[in-house]
């Protein structure tokens, strides 16, 4: 063995000898750090376990039982899940929910993107416009706005008065089964503000030199939008898409308030969540409602996974 080799092994030994000491020291700090971190997290952790994980596990158990809210739950195995297969109102609620999600989310994102692009071009008083457009996002899922919606689209509502001005006869938009869901779609599209703000932030990240270079090469507005803005914005579009889809699947308040809790007229606004609520609290069938909740979780999970999978083919990460 050469001297060099010996030195090498010595150094290694030295290093090896130092290692436990050093790691022991940092370990202590880490543990201490961890402890205080957990202490600071306690309120949140308590919330997570007591209000989120706990009830989730409870509902998982209840989904295999017949539970009427008053008497103790009875284990019935998979019966709740097999019952879903033949429950026509449930199938209808899925149809309503899917229609709502797949019509309102693309529309909402398209409008959000369009406005973001317009605002990004340096409109005077942009901060003001941004706030104004964002406002509906803050209000949109509130009960107050849903109540307002009921008035606006009612038989004698504002919308019909506007139509009256241009000589069109209105109707009861919310009380007609063929248009009631449409009013809810409009309500959701109206809350385009929050994806818009995220789009705006994303647009700011696109280096202006790309646009300059493209302009020099003679690219027009549309060409620059489709060849630069859109590809570079795909991560943001993806982010918004996933979030808004989940959000739309879960909407409840708007349909509940607008239909007066009935999902009507004729179940035309009976979202899956609303039907779940109706089964659980209207029909005292909390076991079935729990099973439905887990089914919804699976649906949303599948769509989110599919979204992530598809993203490989259209989302462009600039890194």
């Amino acid at each position: 063995m050469s001297a060099l080799g010996e030195l090498g092994s010595l150094r290694r030994k030295k290093v090896a000898g130092q290692q436990p000491n050093r790691s022991g020291w940092t370990g202590k700090v880490k543990k201490k750090d961890n402890l205080s971190a957990y202490l600071f997290l306690t309120p949140w952790l308590l919330g997570l376990f007591l209000i989120t994980i706990g009830p989730m596990l409870a509902s998982l158990y209840l989904s295999f039982t017949d539970y009427n809210l008053i008497q103790a739950p009875k284990w019935i195995g998979l019966e709740n899940f097999t019952r879903m297969l033949s429950d026509e109102r449930l199938h209808n609620s899925l149809r309503v929910t899917f229609t709502y999600v797949f019509v309102s989310v693309p529309l909402q994102l398209a409008i959000a993107l369009l406005l973001a692009v317009v605002l990004d071009r340096g409109v005077r008083g942009m901060a003001f416009y941004r706030s104004v457009f964002y406002l509906p996002s803050l209000l949109g899922s509130s009960v107050a706005i849903a109540v307002l919606w009921r008035q606006v689209f009612g038989t004698e509502g504002l919308f019909n008065q506007l139509l009256g001005l241009v000589g069109v006869d209105g109707k009861g938009w919310i009380s007609d089964p063929s248009t009631a869901l449409g009013t809810l779609v409009v309500l959701n599209v109206w809350t385009f503000g929050s994806p818009m703000v995220i789009f705006l932030a994303g647009l700011r990240q696109i280096p202006t030199m790309y646009y300059e270079a493209a302009s020099v090469d003679g690219a027009g507005v549309l060409r620059r939008f489709f060849s630069i803005t859109l590809p570079l914005l795909t991560p943001i579009i993806f982010f918004n898409l996933v979030l808004q889809i989940i959000h739309a699947f879960q909407s409840f308040t708007q349909a509940f308030v607008v239909s007066g809790g009935s999902g009507g007229p004729s179940d035309s606004t009976m979202f899956f969540t609303l039907y779940l609520y109706d089964r659980g609290f209207g029909n005292f069938d909390m076991g079935y409602a729990s099973a439905m909740a887990w089914f919804l979780l699976v649906i949303i999970g599948v769509f989110t996974a599919a979204n992530f999978f598809a993203s490989k083919y259209w989302v462009f990460y600039d890194d």
Binding site: I53, M56, S262, G282, F284
Partner: protein, 442 residues
């Protein structure tokens, strides 16, 4: 401006998205936990707090609060906390509080849900409650709250399903009020259509039957059937439901009732915003005790009329005395004695009777009824008189809905909408109605 998303946004954004999505997913299936809170408690000086819940409109809230105040004056150790709201949200709320083991001590109960709660042990058997006197109650008025040998709801008032007419609208339209002792469904449709025509469509002749199950039940009773049978099954045949809806379409085509979308809009409207209260209807279907509240909301004196019959004989119109609502006590109340005392006060004291009058229906306690009668306000007096007038024409009492029968109101509303919008033919709607109601019964 500081960038919201840093330049190396790609990977971090993915991580952010993952976290955001995970947390949203978690929230998806978690029901918000209610801290519950309170419940009736004893304070150190032996003071007991009872919670008392009821549904109703403004008139009822004020009257009930007055009655509570009188009771509290006589029972300084008992505090009563009122929890009240509209009919539509009442049952969701009650179900939630009962499930959370946080039920109010005293519950205003409806026939539709009485069995639902009682069969599951949520209500106290009032026969076992000491200090509740039912000796002065009119015969038969107790039976509606009685089953399986126990008394789970004490009749709080008698009412009957009826037509309500707005005489001011009739006058404005130049149509005479009909003779309700002889009118048939055809007369009813004709008169209603006449009002719609004569007012140029500003007012519709009548609200639609079928916005709840009561009219359907009376239709069944007029044809020798009944919505429910004594042994807790669905008693109406698909044929009668079909006829009921065919008649409804006839009314729609004659413009006796408003357009489908107005009917559907009115189904869930709060009382004071309903088409009847806002003067858009000349007639409608109500429970007789609601005359007080609707007259107040409409700002004019409304008039009760008998339900039309098929053969022009009022005695054949299927009407019956119904317990408009019931007093129940939660089986989990820790203050059974005090709760019983309060229910006894509501049912048997003249002081309470003088305040509550006939707003919840005609008092079933005959002594209270006699004491209250001279004090009734015009609308109360009219509904009380109506109840007495139809007394000779009544058929058998209508069997109470079985467990699961509480859903029938919403089911009826839904198929009425389907038929009015032409989305289902009467016979298809009838068959689906029967199947669905049967599916709800347990």
């Amino acid at each position: 401006m500081r960038p919201l998303i840093p330049p190396t946004a790609g990977r971090r954004l993915r991580a952010l998205a993952a976290v955001a999505i995970a947390s949203t997913l978690l929230a998806a299936s978690a029901c918000g936990g209610d801290s519950g809170g309170g419940g009736g408690g004893d304070s150190a000086n032996g003071e007991v707090t009872l919670r008392f819940t009821w549904w109703g409109g403004d008139t009822r809230h004020k009257m009930t609060q007055q009655a509570i105040d009188v009771f509290q004056k006589d029972h300084p150790n008992i505090k009563i906390k009122g929890e009240f709201g509209e009919w539509a949200g009442y049952w969701d709320k009650l179900a939630t509080t009962v499930a959370a083991n946080d039920a109010p001590d005293i519950i205003q109960m409806d026939e539709k849900y009485l069995r639902e709660y009682a069969d599951r042990g949520a209500l106290q058997d009032l026969k076992k409650s000491d200090g509740l006197d039912t000796g002065k109650f009119e015969k038969d008025t107790l039976s509606a709250g009685e089953f399986d040998g126990g008394l789970y709801g004490l009749n709080a008032g008698i009412n009957s399903f009826a037509i309500v007419a707005n005489p001011a609208v009739f006058k404005a339209a130049g149509v005479a009020l009909p003779d309700d002792t002889t009118w048939t469904w055809d007369d009813f449709t004709r008169i209603a259509a006449e009002i719609t025509t004569k007012t140029g469509g500003k007012v519709s002749g009548t609200g639609a039957p079928g916005t709840n199950e009561a009219a359907l039940n009376l239709w069944a009773r007029q044809h020798g059937e009944s919505l429910w049978t004594q042994d807790g099954k669905l008693g109406i045949s698909a044929g009668q439901v079909t006829d009921f809806y065919t008649n409804l379409l006839k009314m729609r085509d004659a413009k006796a009732i408003p357009a489908a979308e107005s009917v559907s809009q009115d189904m869930n409207a709060p009382l004071d915003q309903s088409a009847l209260a806002t003067g858009k209807l000349a007639m409608s279907f109500i429970w007789s005790n609601q005359l007080v509240a609707f007259s107040k909301a409409a700002g004019t004196e409304l008039k009760l009329l008998r339900i039309p019959s098929t053969d022009g004989k009022a005695a054949d119109n299927g009407s019956y005395y119904k317990g408009s609502m019931f007093w129940s006590i939660s089986s989990r109340s820790k203050h059974q004695k005090e709760a019983t005392e309060f229910v006894n006060f509501l049912a048997n004291s003249t002081a309470a009777g003088n305040i509550l009058l006939a707003e919840r229906g005609v008092p079933p306690n005959t002594e209270i009824r006699a004491a209250v009668d001279p004090k009734l306000q015009p609308a109360d007096a009219a509904s009380s008189k109506f109840i007495q007038d139809i007394g000779k024409e009544l058929g058998d009492p209508s069997p109470a809905p079985p467990v699961g029968g509480g859903q029938v109101e919403k089911i009826t509303q839904r198929y009425t909408t389907e038929v009015l919008f032409g989305r289902l033919t009467p016979d298809k709607a009838a068959q689906q109605f029967i199947d669905e109601v049967n599916g709800e019964l347990k």
